[in-house]
């Protein structure tokens, strides 16, 4: 913790700005997360969840993983939250009274969460106390780009640093091709399951 504070107050101006931005986004994320699990209004919970997900996308940008950030916005905020809102619209009538969203286990839940956090925080601080991330955390690969797309000649190809997306594509298609295909089967199973459930009326 002391090293965290020391890191904010030392270094050049832009580093200070970067840390201020990081703490701002982290604080917003955590506050919105607290509202997600404590608010009584289920629609508000879904909208606070959007803030949490956007905050996580910002963390991905801080970690230099732009494609993961874009995916987070595209899939989580753009699609999964819509699905959750559909779920709310399809079931809302049941728990008409918004006060009934919580069980009586608040104390127990808080105890478990705090103990879990204490354990994790202790082990993290103990294990990675002053581990510093590299200056530039992006994973870029060299890609060949034609200078003039009309000329099909090797001499007119230059290499430049590709994006994070190209590195991810290489990793998937070199090492993780089976999980990639398995994902499509999983998505197929999800769709067929939903169709079966929606049909049985």
């Amino acid at each position: 913790m002391i090293s965290l504070i020391a890191q904010i107050t030392t270094g050049d101006d832009l580093l200070v700005a970067q840390n201020i931005f990081w703490w701002f986004f982290a604080l917003v994320t955590v506050l919105a997360g607290i509202k997600v699990v404590t608010t009584d209004n289920i629609v508000h919970a879904a909208l606070y969840l959007v803030i949490v997900l956007a905050g996580v996308a910002v963390q991905f940008v801080f970690l230099g993983s732009e494609f993961a950030a874009v995916t987070q916005v595209l899939v989580y905020i753009g699609a999964i939250v819509v699905l959750l809102l559909f779920g709310i619209m399809l079931t809302r009538g049941s728990l008409g009274d918004d006060q009934l969203v919580d069980t009586e286990r608040r104390g127990m839940g808080a105890l478990v969460a705090l103990l879990l956090f204490g354990l994790m925080a202790f082990s993290l601080v103990d294990g990675f106390e002053d581990v510093v991330l590299p200056e530039d955390t992006r994973n870029l690969i060299e890609v060949e780009v034609p200078i003039d797309t009309d000329i099909d000649d090797d001499e007119f190809i230059r290499t430049q640093r590709g994006s994070d997306t190209a590195a991810i594509g290489d990793t998937i298609f070199e090492s993780y091709i089976v999980p990639f295909e398995a994902v499509s089967v999983l998505l197929l199973a999800a769709l067929i399951g939903a169709v079966v459930i929606a049909r049985k009326e």
């Binding site: 990081w22 955590v30 996580v56 993961a68 069980t103 994973n139």
Partner: protein, 99 residues
């Protein structure tokens, strides 16, 4: 930046999600809490990927997001089925094994 600041943020989100899963009894809200837990895991994966200098962390985060999409789809379908059979999505009432 320190590695720990990302890991601690992820730990906070994870614990908030655990708290939500324990205390909520509305099925859709439980699913939202699970989404927060999965996001905490994603931060960890990407942070360690950035720390080790490989894109594998991002790739795993991508797979987790894809699995989360399928999980929410099926989870909500189950919640809708419970709602249709019991006219309620109160998870504390769903405690019988026989349909």
């Amino acid at each position: 930046m320190l590695l720990n600041q990302f890991l601690l943020l992820a730990a906070v989100l994870f614990c908030l999600g655990v708290y939500g899963v324990i205390t909520r009894k509305n099925g859709v809200m439980v699913l939202m809490s699970i989404e927060m837990i999965l996001n905490a895991v994603n931060i960890n994966l990407v942070a360690f990927g950035a720390f080790n200098g490989t894109p594998i962390g991002s790739v795993f985060a991508l797979f987790v997001i894809a699995v989360a999409a399928a999980e929410v789809g099926i989870g909500l379908a189950i919640v809708l089925l419970i709602y249709r059979n019991k006219k309620s999505i109160d998870f504390s009432e769903v405690d019988i094994l026989k349909g």
